[in-house]
Symmetry: none
Subunit: 538 residues, 2 copies
């Protein structure tokens, strides 16, 4: 049985632009569009040329190799002819392959927002589509607030959709603009729309997540006959976000419920790039990845071992709904005090550390990890610290340098001009190969000062750590009060693009930060050596 | 038409415990269970007494006023009688109102994980339920991996469910343990289960979010006839989380699709506490709230104004799917709007601060608050700081004392005996009524030292602050990296039993802590005066 194609339409660069805190530059848009094109998305909606300078600049060139480059905008204004409307001209004349018009399909909006008659609105839709088609481009129409519009006046909502198709639109997209429609309502309405004569293979669905149902609503529309789905990378979008393509695509590709009947431009091989795509997008926007995002999250395939009998562990199909590798993710059995010996060995092997199951050093390591985790260390969140601890305990970690002492000071006082200032200063004494180095640094705060001072003069290692960068810092107080245990997690990265987390625990926040900073530097130095060893053996 | 009740079952403290990075102490569990009980949740699953020390301690007392307190655990072990199984005894004898057993319902698991026959497994279910019912408690059974088990061997999966009910269980809960089931599959299977003789009003659904469908699957099960829904606060849970009750409850209460047919213990008035509950839970766990969480997120009702014609703005129903106030949230139009002023006046009145709507000082206060919140202050979490700011801006706050300067130092070095020590010391210079006081203190860490030094010698105010106690300290880094903005929240209390929160924001954690400490002391001093004024006027 031949499968029907579901078209993938990405609106990250258009609707996703509405996300609080997100602002794409032209360079961002070029990079992201390139990622989407390379991944295999069918339609990339780039923005609204003519409406703002960024988008106008972005549409000066069509860089898509396979994807259709879509310009978005409003239907022509009432009272102006299609050929004379400048907004419409910008859209049609841009370097897009297609134009997607947003049109009112709720009669109340036509009246109150546009102040025109229902009939005039249909004319705006009609002539905008006709002009686009005449210009040799694919036209599609987003019917705004369609589901609310249908509930209020189904005849009119349908008329908007029909008008678009009759005028030559390739697609009519039903938009749940305020995200409030429930899944069965979507199914019923899409079914009714198709029954009323709109062909399913010209119908798209554009869902929002305001009731937590964007993915479900999209799939329900597909099941009811729609064949284009709209969404964004990582579900960005205003308010609660758009439908998340990073979740929809693997559902369609991996679940028999869908892949028996449908296919997309993403095959199983391409799908293995999904996690990398999702993370690259977060990186570009400097957004913290959601560790719990379905399929691609860091925790998506992480189990706290001990819950499952070890017999089950041998067959992941018994507890995992899909193989993590199918989406480019990995299974994590969390290194915790619940972990058994085999888990530990797996974790160590994963990091290239070999140890025998019967080695007494392994027992020591397990005991140390359990003890540390009971006092607050979170090795599941700090891979690099775990690796250093393992190497140190198993005897394969050199001591690159030694910190003899440090002193951190924060002073707040009025300066000579009567201005209140806070100064943070750190002094660090380091010993490398018998030589003592003393450094001082100022910083935004005590931890920043300590970080700078620590990395200011590491003698023969100084060049190696030049590209080391701290990119995130988290603090958690584990018991209440100012006398509590503090856990600090630091994320670091270097020019290779690798990122790693380190941890420190103490009742003193500076001390905890110091531990995490030390592990960060030591991990950087050890990972350089692993690479060097590999290079010299090739 | 009378509506059917949907029972709300919260597993935050049990399944939610599996979340990476989440570790509930007994105090945490008591606090959270109290929140859930107060909000109106029907069942609060507290954990697994007998399996770990925290849960055993938690179940030593049943503190629920309305909710049913549920103990979770495994069915009895095969080969041991129900009366002799110590795990089962711990569950039945704990101070719970009900016991929820997790049972295998996938024959493959019965074989490989338990190594017993299908019939033996049914006997384990039967006798565990019977013993519980005989002990006068409500029994329910979570059928683990039910949907995969049903697909593999529907007869056996049903047999497990039937056995539980026949033995006297109040509920059988169908669990999508690996989160992979698609929505229509859930609907079809729940329908089939009910058709096979399991009454819908004894059926529950326990969904996970591994394919982004936990909320949808839960609602589909309800639509198919299930009448108990399981989930967690803010959707925490292992891997991609459990079904999010914070999204499910408002869907059920506010959407006609549901509220016409169903009711829950949460009425419209209680629902307005939802946002506060969600945020309080995040605060307690020191988790960053998800600004895009449906209904309760900071961005959930935030629109970038300019998208909508101003005529539409007057009628939010045209673009908002529900009123934000219905869930205790607020509409944010990311441009200033006049509606904000009345909110402010309400907040001030709530604290006993009277101000006229036309007062220019009110405008100043509003401007300051907006500016502060944009830079990281969270006044919704720090009542006392807000009140102090209001009193100061409106001109009714005396300056009790002035801190001229402070110096905080953390030093780590080897002492005379070669032992590595970390010392924290703070020096504070305070001026009271023209007199200078200088104090030094040591502490566990820099903030503890500063706190002690600040409160060591406040001259004529010293006696008043004797019963001031810091009881909680939270830190959040608002942007990544060690140069980020730090927000510190401190909770204080005194002998009157009153507790209050204060906030400080700075790129320097010591500075931020200092602000919060100062507000704490000043609030203590001002609240004493309010009491004195009240006393002297009575």
């Amino acid at each position: 049985m031949s499968r029907e194609k579901i078209y993938l339409f990405d609106t990250t660069l258009r609707d996703g632009q509405q996300t609080a805190g997100v602002d794409f530059s032209v360079e961002d848009k070029i990079a992201i569009a390139g990622m989407l094109d390379k991944f295999g998305i069918d339609y990339v909606e780039g923005g609204y040329p003519g409406a703002n300078p960024t988008d106008t600049a972005f549409f000066e060139q069509n860089r898509m190799k396979k994807a259709s480059f879509v310009a978005f905008g409003m239907t022509k204004r009432a009272g102006v002819s299609a050929s004379n409307d400048p907004g419409l001209s910008s859209l049609v004349q841009s370097n897009s392959d297609a134009v997607c018009f947003v049109a009112k399909s709720w009669d109340y909006h036509v009246d109150v927002a546009l102040g025109i008659s229902n009939e005039e609105n249909l004319e705006c839709i009609r002539s905008s589509v006709e002009r686009t088609v005449a210009a040799g481009k694919e036209a599609m129409v987003d019917c705004e607030h369609f589901f609310d519009g249908y509930k209020a006046n189904s005849e009119y909502a349908l008329a908007c959709a029909k008008t678009a198709l009759d005028a030559g639109a390739r697609w009519v997209v039903l938009c749940d603009t305020n995200g409030g429609t429930q899944t069965e309502e979507v199914r019923e309405i899409v079914t009714a729309v198709i029954a009323a004569g709109i062909p399913g293979d010209q119908l798209g669905i554009h869902a929002h997540n305001d009731t937590g149902l964007a993915v479900a609503n999209t799939l329900a529309a597909v099941e009811a006959g729609a064949r284009q789905i709209q969404g964004t990378l990582n579900g960005i979008g205003e308010r609660c976000g758009n439908a998340n393509l990073v979740v929809l695509i693997p559902n369609l590709v991996l679940k028999p419920r869908w892949n028996k009947r449908f296919c997309t431009s993403i095959d199983e091989e391409k799908l293995t790039e999904l996690t990398r795509l999702s993370h690259a997008f977060d990186e570009l926007l400097n957004r913290s990845p959601d560790p719990q995002m379905p399929y691609v999250g860091a925790s998506s395939f992480a189990t706290k071992a001990g819950i499952h009998a070890s017999a089950l562990m041998k067959d992941p199909k018994t507890y995992e709904h899909v193989e993590p590798e199918s989406v480019g993710n990995t299974r994590k059995v969390m290194v915790s005090d619940q972990g058994g010996k085999s888990n530990f060995i797996n974790e160590l092997t994963r990091r290239g550390i070999k140890v025998s199951k019967s080695s007494p050093k392994l027992d020591t390591l397990i005991a140390i990890v359990k003890e540390h985790e009971a006092s607050g260390y979170a090795y599941e969140a700090a891979d690099a610290s775990f690796e250093l601890l393992a190497r140190r305990t198993l005897g394969t970690l050199p001591q690159f340098f030694k910190v003899e002492s440090f002193r951190v000071m924060v002073e707040r006082r009025f300066d000579a001009n009567g201005v209140l200032k806070t100064i943070s200063e750190a002094i660090v004494r380091v010993e490398i190969d018998g030589e003592r180095h003393i450094s001082v640094a100022e910083g935004h705060g005590p931890v920043n000062a300590l970080d700078i001072a620590l990395r200011k003069d590491l003698g023969k290692f100084q060049q190696e750590i030049e590209d080391l960068e701290l990119c995130d810092y988290k603090v958690r107080i584990l018991n209440g009060g100012t006398e509590a245990i503090t856990r600090v997690l630091i994320e670091s990265r270097d020019d290779s693009g690798e990122r790693w987390w380190t941890v420190g625990v103490s009742d003193n926040i500076i001390d905890a930060s110091f531990q995490a900073l030390m592990d960060s530097i030591n991990y950087k130095l050890i990972k350089n050596r692993t690479s060097i060893e590999e290079l010299s053996s090739s």
